[in-house]
């Protein structure tokens, strides 16, 4: 048992390190200095600029800001994986969450903190709804969730853009009016603490979400049936579990996490609604986070911080002469190595020798 857990930690770490190695090679081959990449990451994480010898807590604040939606995105993807579903629709579910946040922020008038809480709840419901659609279609019609969720991402993008412009009154086609302070997660105190970063109270729902994720999966009967369905639909059905319902519920919860990410972005990082020209990539980030985190609550939290740090380091990299897209290359390489690791795991399972002298027909020799 101990061996399995330590393997479960070492392998993702190895994949991450390999990802950095690959990126370094790419940089060197194209005539850039990998050192700049590592320096940027260090600065994003600690606020310390080693070259100039300064410390600015604003970077740490931004590091958290970038991590928060990514962790939530990772929880969304991870929850889907638990039941055997690949939820690439986090992007769309997040956007619907954003839309709901905008709607509640601008159309409802409540005192703080109720306004903000309503925003968060509305966002989760919207995300849950957008996740329920592919979940239901998968359960009922066996529509493959991968292509379906990607299509829904695009539909969400254009739908939200249109609504922001025509319903919520964007005059410049870029953003809406500013939200009232009652709807925001922002706090002047936190902003001052981190020297002007966009750090906000969003980390509270994020931490709560991580705990809720862990609790549902490990401790509840709901989580038990989800895991059973994810491992073996047929055996779950035979024991009386409602497989279709579990699939839909899993996507509902998954979508809720993603919707919450949308809220944290809209009323935390920003304080107005934005028209997006393309998807921002939080869905893909979530996939990387979930895979590296092993679909495990604490793992997702840590890997979310890792990828958040990468994202926060991107502008710093640009100023070091390193194209910020190297971060995407790192992310892709890590996911690829994790995919390979799953493959190696699978091979190990097949070779596992039978314990006793008597054999099973399936291990037929």
């Amino acid at each position: 048992m101990a061996k399995r857990t330590s393997n479960a930690i070492l392998i993702p770490i190895a994949c991450v390190l390999l990802g950095f190695v690959v990126a370094s090679i790419v940089l060197v081959v194209t005539g850039r200095n990998p050192g700049g990449m590592f320096l940027s990451m260090l600065q994003a994480f600690t606020g310390i600029n080693v070259q100039v010898g300064t410390f600015n807590p604003r970077y740490i604040g931004e590091f958290f800001v970038q991590s928060m939606p990514i962790i939530l995105s990772g929880l969304a993807v991870g929850f889907g994986f638990k039941v055997g579903l690949f939820n690439i629709g986090g992007e769309g579910q997040l956007m619907m969450g954003s839309l709901a946040s905008i709607a509640v922020a601008l159309s409802v008038h409540l005192p703080a903190p109720w306004h903000v809480i309503l925003v968060l709840v509305a966002a989760m419901v919207a995300g849950a709804f957008w996740g329920a659609i592919p979940g239901f279609l998968k359960a009922r019609f066996n529509v493959h969730e991968v292509v379906m969720t990607i299509m829904l991402n695009y539909v969400a993008l254009y739908l939200c853009n249109w609504m922001i412009v025509s319903v919520f009154g964007s005059t410049d086609h870029i953003k809406t009016a500013m939200f009232p302070q009652t709807a925001l997660l922002k706090d002047a105190g936190l902003t001052a603490l981190t020297n002007g970063s966009r750090l906000n109270w969003g980390f509270v729902p994020v931490v709560l979400a991580v705990i809720v994720y862990w609790f549902i999966i490990e401790r509840t009967t709901f989580g038990f049936s989800l895991r059973a369905v994810g491992f073996s639909k047929e055996a779950a059905r035979c024991s009386g579990m409602k497989v279709e319902r579990n699939i839909v519920m899993s996507m509902v919860v998954s979508g809720a996490f993603a919707g919450l990410a949308g809220a944290v972005l809209t009323v935390g990082t920003f304080n107005y609604g934005r028209v997006l020209s393309t998807a921002e990539g939080y869905g893909m980030d979530g996939i990387a986070v979930a895979l590296v985190g092993g679909n495990n609550a604490f793992g997702i939290f840590l890997s979310g911080l890792l990828f958040g740090m990468l994202k926060a380091a991107q502008p710093l990299m640009q100023s070091q002469g390193i194209p910020k897209d190297i971060a995407n290359i790192i992310q892709a390489a890590i996911v690829l190595f994790v995919a390979m690791k799953y493959g190696i795991d699978y091979l190990l399972k097949k070779i596992r020798p039978p314990k006793q002298e008597t054999f099973d027909e399936e291990a037929r020799v």
Partner: protein, 315 residues
């Protein structure tokens, strides 16, 4: 009615990359490997196509065609990653494909930064110029439609569909390919090298997807950007399902989707569509793909063993 007539050539332009990419997906899936990295491979092909065209335009009038060739080659090389991970390492094919999509996005823009010092490539002058075929273009009705100012990839698409159909259903290669996707153990017991077949299937899909990406950027845009493909790789997958993994079905489905995309351009000219906001037309192709998935998934007739990890030890 006239509008419909002028819309068709535009529909062909949009349809061509969809069909070509979907054919690639077909070869891969028929060999038993799910390839959702079509999007990423198309992006890589688009980048290669744009880059080579920009490079060669000053010196050659056929630069665009060299660009297409570059797309094919780049797509093949990139797809080897998916082949290795899926076939040799037996990794989950969907995760591997997703990784490649992320990689393609990062790598192409990164290279743009390195080469062009911006997040996109520089523009090319002509791309893939439209052609008119002397003589045929004067035929009544079909002449102006198919032979005047038409985009060459349209013909490539038709030829490829024909070749694909022939290869997959008439030749021994096709029979063996399909057997690997339906029942790899059966194929292996008849002496067929399943690994090799699957590599072939993936590399062919890489070639076709790369070609498709190059076609897309050279006929629909003036430069390469990160949004050059904007989900067309996934629309191609939807087209594959809609077309029931069959070249002619794919052609029909692709033309249908191409038409849907063309509608967006001409919406303002069609009287009863004028009041509808533009965003609706942008999302129409994706919505149609989603609906097609729902309608056709339950009658799914894809290759039986597609996506399953092939284990030679299993009997």
């Amino acid at each position: 009615m006239n509008v419909l007539y002028t819309m068709l050539p535009i529909a062909f332009v949009y349809a061509s990359p969809i069909v070509v990419a979907a054919l690639g997906g077909m070869f891969s899936e028929r060999s038993g490997i799910v390839n959702i990295a079509l999007e990423g491979i198309m992006l890589v092909g688009a980048f290669a196509g744009a880059a080579v065209t920009i490079l060669l335009e000053p010196i050659s009038p056929a630069a665009g065609y060299y660009g297409l060739l570059a797309g094919v080659v780049a797509g093949m090389i990139f797809s080897l990653l998916h082949a290795y991970t899926s076939v040799n390492l037996k990794a989950d094919q969907v995760i591997s494909g997703t990784a490649l999509n992320i990689l393609a996005g990062g790598l192409t823009v990164y290279l743009c930064e390195i080469i062009y010092h911006q997040q996109r490539s520089t523009t090319f002058e002509r791309g893939l110029a439209k052609v008119s075929i002397a003589g045929l273009e004067d035929l009544p009705f079909i002449g102006p439609l198919f032979f005047k100012n038409v985009s060459p990839p349209f013909f490539f698409m038709l030829v490829l569909v024909l070749l694909a159909w022939f290869a997959v259903y008439k030749t021994p290669f096709g029979l063996r390919l399909r057997s690997c996707g339906e029942h790899p153990q059966a194929a292996a017991s008849m002496g067929i090298n399943v690994f090799r077949m699957r590599y072939l299937g993936v590399v062919i899909s890489g070639a076709l997807a790369g070609l498709s990406g190059a076609i897309m950027v050279l006929t629909q845009d003036i430069q390469f950007t990160a949004s050059s493909v904007h989900g067309t790789g996934f629309i191609a997958l939807g087209c594959l399902i809609f077309g029931k993994w069959n070249p002619w079905g794919v052609l029909g489905a692709g033309l249908f989707f191409g038409f849907a995309e063309a509608v967006a351009i001409y919406a303002k000219d069609i009287p009863f569509l004028q009041g509808i906001p533009l965003e609706f037309f942008y999302l129409l192709p994706y919505l149609l793909t989603a609906i097609a998935l729902v309608v056709f998934s339950s009658k799914s007739v894809g290759p039986k063993a597609s996506g399953e990890i092939y284990d030679p030890g299993k009997r």
